[in-house]
Amino acid sequence: MSEITPILPRRQFIAQAAAAMALPLVFREAAGEPAVPAAGWIDCNAHLGPHPNRDLPPLTTESLTSRGLTEAWVAPLEALLQRDLASVNARHAARCGGPLRAVGVVHPGLPDWQEDLRRCTEEHGMKIIRLYPGYHGYTLDDPSLMKLLEQAAAKNVRVQIVAEMENVRTQHPLLQVKPVDFKPLAAALKHLPELRVMVLNANATMAQTTLRGLDNVWLDIAMIEGVAGVENLLKQWPQDRLVFGSHAPFFYPESSMLKLQESELSEAEIAALKSANARAWLS
């Protein structure tokens, strides 16, 4: 992990020695401590497969373990634009395994999406599905989405909703997708108190406005920005409903990893972020 362990000038190193005890374990390797905690480190927001318009480095078991990550929840990037999701999910399930937990994708606007959900759960053994309202062109008050959420709750399937994949300012001009409007989510979840939703790539503004106060919603940190962004978010967002997500390989995974070092977090907060909250969400 020396690649992401900054080597400090002596003056700064001394100044930080005390603070270092509060750092995530993975960053302590330079001090001779274990790089990976026993509880593991789960990336709840990762992808496999080709991106529509970028050549991304492949996410592999080796790329995870070399960074100290023990598990990644991966969804197929092909699902952003391909319509034969049954095929996408089947191929995706076959290429996952080990630390790569397969997450299926369901599009409630497609005819007979119910069969996709059935295959994800019954044939591929997936416990999580990921939704892309922006890329698939529906809003969160769409009646089909309500039916999908009801079925997911009934099947005890966890649901991830992707807020955005890329900032609108840098998107390909022929592939412009706005961030998801989460205002309707509160009404949708009101009737499904048992459903657990994880919103991926939400920004701090979403967390403080449309997502605020939703008891069965979890967030990841991939797009939480600002100096000490995670620390600041935890002043307003429940500690037990925030998880580690990197948005890799679209983002450099070091981005989210270093956010845990930048923010001043307690050992309990770090442990919760790195794996405990993700496990609780999935259990």
């Binding site: 000038p9 600002g226 100096v227 956010k259």
Partner: protein
């Protein structure tokens, strides 16, 4: 690894007064191993600052620098719309003051020859020249420069080094735009940490023309450091990007001012 941050602001960070905000920036910079910060612009941002706004914002940076002279460098905020007052600010803050660079933002585009006196004087002072740029898919602000605009400026001053802020944001375009102009450097700051950015910049520009910056406090240090820490490039190139290139650009004015760094 020695790290200097080219691109920081006093906004987006806690603190009621400038020195408290810089203190908070440094507190988190320390946690991720950043040695020095370049800061520009004051507590309240203005897309199109009045002449008095410029003075106020530069005063705030000067005030913060007094408390942390060994940790921060100041760049004077100038406007392409107020050349006369900007020239005066350049004299006050750089020629007569402690600042070591200039910052041009989005009030007016840098392809306009009207800003040439600012660039000429900054070059004479050996000040580092930083121009914000973006190629926004949805369109720029009216006065917001693109890397193409900066290229037009660079053609008029082919021997003056200048920094292309944000590498144009949409970096696949920004890198291509500035590639042939050897006096232009790419600032990595202030866009999402999209994989491949730094690798392309190093491949097309050479590592010696790429500079790490964060755009803190609006951005985390972490997401921007990741662009270098996570890039598939050599450790030597990372050191160039993290500190050595910026330090090399700054050394003439630092030495002139007797600043050790």
């Amino acid at each position: 690894m020695r790290i200097w941050d080219l691109h920081c602001h006093l906004s987006g960070v806690a603190g009621l007064i400038p020195e408290d905000r810089l203190q908070n920036l440094l507190r988190y910079a320390d946690r991720v191993g950043i040695e020095r910060l370049c800061i520009y612009m004051g507590l309240k941002w203005a897309l199109d600052p009045s002449p008095d706004d410029l003075v106020k914002q530069n005063d705030e940076v000067l005030r913060a620098l007094v408390k942390y002279p060994d940790r921060a460098f100041g760049f004077v905020y100038l406007s392409a719309k107020h050349i006369e007052r900007s020239m005066a600010e350049l004299e006050r803050c750089v020629a007569q003051g402690p600042m070591v660079g200039i910052k041009l933002w989005v009030a007016g585009r840098c392809d306009s020859p009207e800003i040439d006196p600012l660039i000429q004087r900054a070059a004479e002072l050996k000040a580092v020249i930083f121009q914000h740029t973006w190629f926004k898919t949805g369109g720029n602000f009216p006065g917001e420069s693109t890397p193409d605009d900066l290229v037009a400026l660079a053609r008029r001053f082919p021997k003056v080094p200048m920094i292309c802020g944000h590498t144009g944001g949409t970096w696949e375009l920004g890198i291509r735009a500035i590639r042939e102009h050897k006096n232009l450097y790419a600032d990595l700051a202030g866009s999402d940490p999209t994989a491949g950015m730094t690798e392309m910049a190093v491949r097309e520009l050479g590592a010696h023309r790429v500079i790490y910056g964060s755009d803190a406090g609006g951005r985390s240090f972490a997401s921007q450091l990741a662009k270098v820490h996570g890039a598939q490039i050599s450790a030597e190139d990372k050191q160039l990007i993290f500190c050595d290139n910026l330090r090399q650009l700054m050394l003439p004015i630092l030495q002139q001012k007797g600043i050790k760094a």
